[in-house]
């Protein structure tokens, strides 16, 4: 349906949007590349939805510009931007059947797709999402998972420059979410689609994204591959967004025996940065506070000089609460007073 595409499908340049006194988006710049699955990760209220609405044109930025396929569309109406949008809520029309819901975007008077082609596209999309048997159902007669498939399908029937998805899985239970996560990634690869996906769920970000952008208070803090964000977060906040259990942040002055770069205020310790061993003369000694058995792994809560550290341990490792253990740090992350990352010293 479309010719060659520019390298970056969507470029945001310094866009800002305020609602009254709330600065929902601040000086945000972002480029979504062709064929990429970019996930914006941030807590509720971070400005994720607003960012997507600015791209669609449902909101107009106070400053900055939006480019789509090399065109400045900052002041274009939503309909002319060639975008498909999956809303966070209310994505299906309750008065229509599944088929008509899926056909709705194609039946737009601006698009004038002939009915046989609509039927083909709808059937293909339903096939792709495993909802082909539900086409005749009313949109209200579906399970939660099916509704979300249809909601995503309403975007996939089209072939836009970019698909925007606003937490499409957030209302589902964990099992369905895991299932749809995989499928969405499969579909994206199959179609070679460009997707800007918004979520507060780090697992979704880690599993689906080709790149993650971490957003907080309307600002983009860091953008990179999941690995980059995980391994070299630019700040302690970004570090705390990814990884489970969450990264342990320890005041640097509590450490002994661990060389840290000058200016380090806080040390970030993930599970893989921390080794636990029986006492053997080491200087960092902690006490096991509690051991949670999760089956294949144990969550170990350690008390170290009044700070609580949480880490994973092999269930076979014999640990009792109250037991004293030796802690060894391996290349922890170092942060300055402002929470910004300080590159580790070269050993």
């Amino acid at each position: 349906m479309k010719g060659a595409r520019a390298v970056a499908d969507v470029i945001l340049r310094n866009i800002s949007k305020r609602f009254g006194t709330v600065e929902a988006v601040r000086e945000l710049s972002l480029a979504v590349n062709d064929g990429e699955f970019l996930v914006l990760l941030g807590p509720s209220g971070a400005g994720k939805t607003t960012t997507l609405r600015l791209i669609t044109g449902l909101e107009t930025p106070d400053a900055g510009s939006v480019m789509i396929d090399g065109r400045d569309v900052t002041h274009d109406p939503p309909g002319s931007r060639d975008i498909a949008f999956v809303f966070q809520q209310y994505s299906l029309y309750p008065h229509l059947t599944v088929y008509d819901n899926l056909a709705f975007p194609l039946r737009s008077p601006a698009r004038r797709v002939p009915e046989p082609i609509i039927r083909k596209r709808v059937e293909q999309t339903a096939e792709l999402l495993h909802i082909a048997s539900k086409l005749k159902n009313r949109a209200t007669r579906l399970s939660g998972g099916e509704m979300q498939r249809v909601a995503i399908g309403r975007a996939l029937v089209r072939d836009p420059s970019i698909y925007l998805m606003d937490e499409p899985l957030s209302s589902l239970d964990a099992k369905l979410r895991a299932e749809l996560r995989l499928e969405l990634k499969r579909i994206q690869l199959e179609l070679g689609a460009t997707i800007l996906y918004v979520t507060h769920d780090q697992v979704e970000a880690m599993t689906m994204a080709s790149r993650i952008g971490v957003i907080r208070d309307g600002q983009l803090l860091q953008c990179g591959t999941p690995r980059e964000i995980y391994e070299s977060p630019s700040s302690s906040y970004v570090a705390s967004r990814l990884g489970s259990p969450q990264i342990n942040l320890l005041p640097a002055h509590l450490l002994s025996d661990v060389p840290v770069p000058p200016g380090t205020e806080t040390v970030g310790i993930r599970t893989e940065h921390l080794q636990i061993a029986a006492r053997n003369g080491g200087r960092m000694v902690g006490r096991v506070h509690r051991v949670e058995h999760l089956g294949e792994q144990n969550h170990v809560h350690l008390d170290y000089k009044g700070e609580m550290l949480v880490t994973l341990a092999d269930p076979r490792q014999p640990l009792q609460s109250g037991q004293e253990v030796e802690l060894h740090l391996v290349h922890p992350l170092c942060f300055d007073r402002a929470g910004q990352r300080i590159p580790a010293m070269v050993h």
């Binding site: 994505s91 309750p94 975007p105 008077p109």
Partner: protein
Amino acid sequence: MTAVLTKSSAHSIVEASPRAKIVAGGLVILYAVITILPLLWIVATAFKSQSDAIAYPPKVIFEPTLEGYVNLFTVRTRQTPDFIAKLPPPETWYDKLVRQRDMVIAGPSKVVPRFVNSLIIGFGSTFLAVFLGTLAAYAFSRFRIPLADDLLFFILSTRMMPPVAVAIPIYLMYRQLNLTDTRLGMILLYTAVNVSLAVWLLKGFIDEIPREYEEAALVDGYTRLQALRKVVLPQAVTGIAATAIFCLIFSWNEYAFAVLLTSGEAQTMPPFIPFIIGEGGQDWPAVAAATTLFVIPIVLFTVLLRKHLLRGITFGAVRK
């Protein structure tokens, strides 16, 4: 946030006990009987003879006659039995019926044109009020309108005055504009009164429809007007039906303005019905017949729209 499946109803999840169901059912039936009894009495009276209609104690069992309906639809003159005997034999059953009472039919009565007036004015003003009300309510609900709250209050305040208070100014205005005793005048007047109600009711319903529905349509390339038609209106159908019923009931039953502003051409049924009473004694069966006919359209209209009213309950059951 959970996906709500359709089995659940708007009411309690707990199944009522059989005893509670019987009591509730009994109360509903009792209420229905109490409210429907006067109506049934009117329907029955329409089929009584004049003497049965005023018999005391009231007659529940009687010999039905169509005299009431015949009297309603005709104008008759009283004649001497000699005169009637000299006439050629009656051509129709109703001619015969009338002659038994020493009368002959002089022509049709005004009931049909009056009924037509009621239909045109009632449905015309209802359509206009709902149409304008929907557009205004949509605008109030979706757009940032300066002084929206004050405007809405002003719109409501037009309903606070009793008709009597504005009767004289409106009468003078209408005379000046040559709108007295015209259907157009009555349609405009009832529309003006109803539109305030329509705006308020419909705004409530449209507020309930998430904006995301229209926004999705906008992103998909629909214009705002198309989105209104394809997305908002189908979901506001409940509200529109309810509003239409309220508007129709008002304009159908309206009496004060109708008496004041119509006398001939545009007279509606409410001022016409009491006028029957005075014609040649108290003709209760004819009045009852007129009342029966008068009630039918509104009952039909309500029954027709009932489906939409009930269906409204399942709306919004998607991802709450």
